[in-house]
């Protein structure tokens, strides 16, 4: 048991419903509280520190986007919340993930398993490989009802049809017996979404849901997610590296780099006036029509090797504004304007630049 972790609220009492199943009710709409999360991977070549002290929260009805490059730790954060990390080699040495006040990391395994899928659900990037190729899609969706709620075959299948219709899959009744490979990419992603929202979860985590799709389908899927979120008052965590996708859907954005949050802000402030050189670099690297004929601005260099994160600010080797203090002292995430946090010694200069 971790007694050294600081808790923001007292442990919420366990309430049970009529069937004896534990119910989770958010206090003040607060669904998720990630506190000081650390995740490391023990490999043959050393310990990779994938997440180094991440704090954020998610309220009901809110969309939080977690933005970052590959290796920033954004997917690992999501997987830690879901509890689907392979525990060796992964290890969580510190931190808490509180769902409606209950710390998921200290929960007994079977209780955690009931949370998965029913309260917090996740969809993944590649729907073709994420769906089981040898079972019909209706069966896979219906599995949620059969396993979590003990429904019988025909009832659960009827629910599956209803869900498929909700996510706008044409001729759902006939296609419920079809197999994943018989659908197009966009349709498959809808099936994944149907599976995820089946039990009306309070939180939906979408890990790069549109990266593998083409642009028009992307827009449709994002619109669907938004629709479902508003309809069910879900908290949505959108994990992506694509700034274009984020602008439409997100309420707040958390930018991750090398396992830490480097900036959090609401979507308007972030796009208008970024408060961190990394965010600024990301925004500047989006190609724009009015920049035709000029060299594309890119952030030079590569993300750091997680086995050997450089001292001081992890971004300093690639930062245009790096000074000596950046190489020596790691900047803490601090409030630089109302509701905005940034981990940069020179955040104010960046905002006003």
């Amino acid at each position: 048991m971790r007694d050294d972790v600081t808790t923001t609220t007292e442990k919420a009492p366990l309430t049970k419903n009529a069937e004896g199943k534990i119910t989770y009710t958010p206090t003040d709409g607060r669904l998720l509280d990630v506190e000081n999360l650390h995740v490391e991977f023990h490999t043959d070549d050393g310990v990779a520190r994938a997440i180094n002290g991440v704090n954020f929260h998610l309220d009901a009805g809110e969309s939080l986007a977690i933005l970052g490059e590959s290796g920033s730790g954004k997917s690992v954060t999501a997987q830690a919340i879901m509890g689907i990390l392979d525990m060796p080699p992964a290890k969580i040495p510190d931190g808490a993930i509180k769902y409606c006040g209950h710390d998921l990391l200290t929960m007994p395994d079977d209780q955690r398993r009931w949370v998965r899928g029913a309260e917090i659900a996740m969809i993944f990037q590649d729907a073709l490989s994420s769906l089981n190729p040898v079972f019909p899609v209706g069966w896979q969706i219906a599995e949620m009802f059969r396993q979590h709620r003990g429904m019988n075959k025909s009832d659960s299948l009827a629910q599956a049809v209803r869900l498929m219709e909700r996510v706008a899959i044409p001729a759902a009744k006939e296609r419920v017996k079809a197999y994943p490979h018989q659908f197009s990419g966009g349709m498959r992603q809808r099936i994944m979404i149907a599976m995820a929202i089946a039990l009306d979860p309070a939180v939906l985590i979408a890990d790069e849901p549109t990266t593998a799709l083409d642009v028009t389908v992307q827009a449709q899927i994002m619109a669907l997610l938004q629709e479902l979120q508003q309809e069910r008052h879900m908290g949505l965590i959108l994990i992506t590296h694509d700034l274009g996708v984020v602008a439409d859907v997100a309420d707040r954005i958390a930018v991750m780099y090398s396992g830490r949050l480097v900036e959090t802000a609401n979507v308007y402030d972030l796009y208008a006036k970024p408060a961190h050189p990394y965010t600024r670099g990301l925004l500047e690297s989006i190609p724009r029509l009015d920049q035709k004929g000029q060299t594309l601005a890119a952030i030079g260099g590569l993300p750091p090797n997680l086995l050997r994160i450089p001292p001081g600010c992890a971004f300093n080797p690639r930062c245009r504004m790096a000074q000596d203090i950046c190489r020596q002292e790691r900047p803490e995430l601090r409030e630089v304007a109302p509701g905005r946090m940034s981990a940069c010694h020179f955040a104010e200069e960046v905002i006003n630049a």
């Binding site: 070549d45 290796g71 689907i84 990390l85 090797n305």
Partner: protein, 308 residues
């Protein structure tokens, strides 16, 4: 693959190369991990010894394998005959050493034929495409449909009156096994080549006007060879076992050829009373097959990035 797995792999790769790695070809990379594999060395040493036995049996024994001492037939291992003597009074140790030659010959020749024939046919089918590919695949299926042992028996039975000299018999066995063994390599090579062909470097070579022969030789074959090498190494062991089985049934190598299968065949009769006659040739046969399978496994692990 989950991001955590990608993280771990990327991290290990970076660490191995010290963050800024020198460029290493796939072959050099494979050799590097092969060198570290203890099973590779064990099998290499074993195979080295066996090949030596096959080429220079006199290095290992000075006894004539055809010298029969009837008075001591079926005798147990002793100081004069390390493995004892078989039913006709031959020195078993000597016959085991000399028997290596037939087995290794059959294994190596069969593998060579199947690799050349199967590899060529598979590559042509994949490269040509269209109706040629269909035709060749059909023919491959037909040969593939006949099980190895059954087909070999048919072949040997059909040719039973011909080619009775030492090399003639070995050639017959080699042909029988090759005829039935090439389809699996052809299929393998064909799918390998089909995976390699869409790659950009092949298209680039085509665009630069390289002749088909050159493209195949310099670009396609080196990159598609991998699985075929692994499988044919393991198959070498299987062919040696197959030859022994044919000889055991009396339809493979027959006296005067000295082979392990022949020795085992002779020894079965006396199993209850003189098991040593069976034991030693069986031991050498098994070790040989084991060595080739180990080698094939080691090569496969060296080429496969996932098991590193």
């Amino acid at each position: 693959m989950s991001e955590s797995a990608v993280l771990v792999e990327g991290v290990e790769a970076q660490a191995a190369q010290g963050d800024v790695g020198e460029a290493r070809s796939l072959g050099a990379d494979a050799w590097r991990s092969l060198r570290k594999n203890v099973f590779f060395w064990i099998s290499a040493v074993l195979i080295g010894i066996l090949v030596l036995m096959a080429i220079w049996p006199s290095l290992f024994t000075s006894t004539d394998p055809t010298a029969s001492v009837l008075a001591e037939a079926r005798s147990r291992p002793s100081s004069s005959a390390w493995f004892g003597r078989d039913i006709q009074g031959y020195d078993i140790y000597s016959r085991v050493i000399y028997g290596a030659r037939a087995s290794i010959l059959v294994g190596v020749m069969t593998t060579a034929f199947t690799v050349l024939l199967g590899g060529a046919i598979g590559t042509i089918a994949a490269y040509a495409g269209g109706w040629a590919d269909s035709l060749i695949s059909r023919i491959t299926d037909i040969f593939f449909a006949v099980p190895l042992l059954l087909g070999a028996i048919l072949f040997m039975s059909a040719l039973s009156g011909t080619l009775t000299s030492y090399f003639g018999v070995i050639l017959k066995v080699v042909l029988a096994l090759s005829l039935l063994g090439w389809p699996s390599l052809a299929r393998l090579m064909r799918s390998s080549v089909l995976q390699v062909m869409p790659n950009d470097y092949v298209q680039a070579a085509r665009a630069l006007g390289a002749s088909p022969w050159r493209i195949i030789r310099s670009h396609i074959i080196p990159n598609a060879m991998g699985p075929m090498i692994v499988v044919s190494t393991i198959n070498l062991g299987a062919y040696i076992a197959a030859e022994a089985t044919l000889s055991f049934l009396g339809i493979g190598l027959v006296p005067p050829v000295i082979s392990w299968g022949v020795s085992i065949n002779d020894a079965i009769v006396g199993l209850r009373t003189t098991p040593h006659m069976l034991l030693f040739p069986s031991l050498f046969l098994s070790i040989t097959v084991l060595a080739f399978i180990m080698l094939g496994d080691a090569i496969r692990d060296a080429f496969d990035p996932k098991t590193r």
